[in-house]
């Protein structure tokens, strides 16, 4: 049984939160994430997690949970101390802002204490719920679990991630804890006035009371602001976390992490980034004041806050980031062409007779891949050399499966003869595109791979339906993204018929590769560059240069089991 936390009494709208899912606002998806990211990050650092690990956010009241296995935890935020009850019935204090080891079958109670509204329970290894659109955070404004788990319920079981991924734990001295508590108790929010609003000189003089109607969508203030600040409704605009909206009743709402992504109320000012965590700690009844500052000061505050936190409690050293580069080869181009690209990639997808290639080209390609230290992958296709595997072929699914098995085993046989091994399978051309969305073709590929070697991973487009299907079928999966193809805003590939579907500038291909490798919004483990592009070599050089400059290593190491 996997280690887990079981919610006995989740209190009021407790939820799982990490640093959120930015990048999807254009689909109407709020960023979500911890309402007080400072407490989350420090808690994660105390137990050796990366800042972005998921934790339990407990608002306003209390929360009772139990641990199936021994675990390392930290409680941070608006809490004095937790109460730990061991399996023997013995009780002990669980002080906040410290790393604690809790034994198996112990129970932890967390009570929220003023000043402040939210506590965080961080656990070494993090809460290991499925990642939805790049994050494990619940979005409490979208009902019916459309986005990750909603509010936690009694009986919710939260799996704990692998502790082996945790780094060194940090400790805080009494002074550091005091300084964190003091920081989070501040009730003056620094704001930047909105460009549409003529100078509101009085913003600094307001004292506004926080309403009990506040939640993760927004902090509602029950004191009306002077009527000069109340505008009429505007046409719907994008919103920002921290934006101070003034609806018709003149009672401002400071938008929170689960805010709607667009809205029509006028905005008077926006809370600066450095003070957003304070929004998560505002309690009903608190009195809030604003202090107007300029953009340069806001930037300085942001920078200083990062430095302060990093000195107080350094982040876990970053694991070296790596990304695989792959290319389709052995498709009948001159060997010099293929070898030039093999010098630059880490995985080669070798045509195995379906759309191109024969025993001789497979043999040459495998030897060259070995020479250049590349992983060998099988690149089967619809058996359709006339169309280079680029046309949809209507054939009985059993015949396709048989052909795929023949193609993959042909390369396996040749690789074995050369002292190498086929390490993955990536479908080609029309078969690739169709299998990503067609479950019948995805299943056919899965059966073919299983017949050849059930440990072989299948490569597919990051985010495609086929990947989860293969995963569910028990096959390993490698997700890839393209450096030389444009993506639509929703993460799908732009249609090839679109005039702007293909990237032709090496600089842009490199920028896209960096975005794939660093932000990893697509979650891709490998980047593909099309070998038939006249720019393939220039692209690969530009990509390598850009990745190296960003400290990202090109390697297939992380793909090996």
């Amino acid at each position: 049984m996997k280690a887990a936390i079981r919610m006995i009494d989740p209190g009021l709208q407790s939820s799982v939160q990490d640093l959120g899912r930015p990048g999807w606002a254009h689909l109407g998806v709020p960023s979500s994430g911890a309402a007080d990211p400072i407490s989350l990050r420090v808690g994660n650092r105390l137990v050796g997690n990366p800042d972005s690990a998921a934790a339990i956010e407990v608002p306003l009241r209390s929360c009772l949970m139990s641990f199936t296995h021994a675990a390392t935890i930290a409680i941070t935020g608006a809490v004095e101390q937790g109460v730990l009850t061991l399996a023997s019935g013995q009780r002990q204090d669980a002080p906040a802002w410290r790393r604690l080891d809790v034994p198996a079958r112990s129970t932890l109670r967390i009570d929220i204490a003023a000043p402040g509204a939210r506590a965080y329970l961080c656990v070494a290894g993090g809460i290991d719920l499925p990642v939805v659109l790049g994050s494990r955070s619940a979005c409490l404004s979208t009902p019916l679990d459309a986005l990750a788990a909603g509010p936690l319920r009694a009986g919710s079981k939260l799996p704990i991630g692998s502790v082996s991924l945790a780094g060194p734990c940090r400790t805080l001295d009494a002074h550091a804890i005091h300084s964190l508590r003091e920081h989070l108790a501040r009730r003056t929010l620094r704001v930047i006035t909105h460009p549409d609003v003529a100078a509101i000189g009085d913003l600094d003089k307001l004292s506004l009371r926080v309403s009990s109607q506040s939640n993760r969508m927004g902090v509602r203030l029950e004191t009306p602001v002077p009527s000069a600040a109340v505008g009429s409704n505007m046409i719907t605009q994008p919103t920002a976390c921290g934006a101070i909206q003034v609806p018709g009743d003149a009672r401002p709402i400071i938008l929170g992490v689960d805010r709607p992504t667009t809205g029509g109320y006028p905005v008077i000012a926006t809370v600066v980034f450095a003070d957003l965590p304070l929004l998560g700690q505002l309690r009903p009844g608190d009195i809030v004041r604003f202090q107007v500052i300029g953009v340069p000061e806001a930037l300085m505050l942001h920078r200083e806050q990062q430095q302060w936190l990093n000195t107080l409690c350094p982040p876990r050293p970053e694991l070296p980031r790596t990304i695989d580069l792959n290319c389709d080869l052995g498709e009948g181009m001159p060997m010099e062409h293929d070898e030039a690209l093999m010098r630059l990639v880490t995985s080669v997808n070798i045509a195995c007779g379906g759309h191109a290639g024969d025993d001789a080209t497979m043999q040459r390609s495998v030897l060259a891949a070995m020479k250049h230290g590349c992983r060998v992958g099988a690149h089967p296709s619809f058996p359709d050399r006339a169309n280079f595997g680029r046309a949809m072929l209507s054939m009985p699914i059993e015949d396709l499966e048989r052909s795929l098995v023949e193609q993959i085993t042909a390369l396996m046989r040749i690789a074995r003869g050369a002292g190498a091994r086929v390490e993955y399978v990536k479908p080609h051309g029309a078969l690739y595109n169709a299998a990503m969305i067609d479950p019948d073709l995805a299943d056919c590929l899965a059966r073919a791979v299983r017949a050849c070697d059930p440990t072989l991973p299948l490569v597919g487009l990051a985010g495609a339906a086929a990947l989860s299907r293969w995963n569910a079928a028990g096959l390993a999966v490698i997700s890839e993204a393209f450096a030389d193809r444009r993506y639509e805003p929703d993460g799908t590939l732009r249609d090839r018929r679109h005039p702007d579907a293909v990237i032709s500038d090496p600089g842009q291909a490199a920028a896209q590769a960096l975005s794939i490798a660093s932000r990893n919004s697509t979650g891709a483990q490998s980047i593909c560059v099309h070998s038939d592009s006249p720019h393939a070599e220039a692209f690969l050089r530009a990509i390598r240069e850009r990745l190296a400059a960003a400290g990202i290593e090109v390697s297939a190491a992380s793909l090996n089991p």
Binding site: A25, G28, Q237, T262, L299, H302, S468, P489
Partner: protein, 237 residues
């Protein structure tokens, strides 16, 4: 006014709404030309792949660019955004997708259809005819995951919102609110008048694309009967 040949009716205006958000204003009212400009700027900004940018969010007449100012210097961000806006003139817009959204207007799915008809002094059939003959465009997505703001509702169907919003509107509900029409992707509270329901799942975070509709799409509502609704809802075609 801009120079002839410019893709913009109005010179794009940049303003900082905070130290991390740059707003590009492309108009001051809801119009097809402004939506074209918004979609073009949105597309150019995405194509520019600026490191440090976390969100590019379009709406009716503006686009917000949110970024991490410690990764991307605000001055650099501003000039990159300007460059992207300039590139719009050279970029060719692709043909918009035409997405057919099947809608069952049967009574059980359309609690407000008869009220809408009565308010306009026409029959329910005439409301359905007007609603399905309209050609709509997705101005942008917002409010809740997968919710598309559709413009192009026939004037003959502009209807005031409910005085008392419903606490829950079923997922897939097709509704009219003021001059707008749209599909509720999830069960949410809502004050628009419900005239039908689609069996299509408008948003699924595990699917790619997650949202059924995308900025710039043209949408056509297609009337279907209850049997067809059930068939599509079960996964048939």
């Amino acid at each position: 006014m801009t120079t002839p040949g410019s893709p913009f009716d109005q010179v794009p205006a940049l303003a900082w709404t905070s130290e991390r958000t740059l707003r590009i204003t492309l108009g001051d009212q809801i119009s097809p030309a402004t939506s074209d400009a918004v979609a073009a700027v949105d597309d150019a900004l995405r194509a520019a792949v600026l490191p440090g940018v976390s969100d590019i969010t379009p709406a009716y007449a503006s686009v917000f660019v949110e970024f991490d100012p410690l990764t991307l210097d605000p001055a650099v961000a501003e000039s990159a955004v300007l460059t992207a806006i300039k590139s719009v003139a050279q970029r060719s817009a692709g043909e918009p997708r035409l997405i057919e959204v099947p809608v069952c207007y049967a009574d059980e799915f359309a609690p407000d259809l008869s009220d809408v008809a009565a308010l306009h002094g026409i029959s329910a059939e005439a409301v359905i005819k007007l609603h399905t003959s309209g050609s709509y465009r997705v101005a942008f997505l917002g409010f809740t995951p997968g919710f598309a703001y559709l413009s192009g509702l026939s004037k003959g169907l502009h209807t005031p919102r409910l005085v008392r919003p419903r606490t829950t509107v079923p997922a897939g509900s097709v509704a009219i609110g003021g001059a707008q029409t749209g599909v509720y992707p999830h069960p949410t509270p809502g004050g628009w008048r419900i005239v039908g329901r689609t069996p299509i799942v408008m948003f699924d975070a595990a699917r790619r694309p997650a949202a059924h509709l995308s900025i710039g799409d043209r949408v056509q509502f297609v009337p279907i009967d209850r049997a067809r609704f059930d068939l599509i809802a079960r996964g048939g075609k």
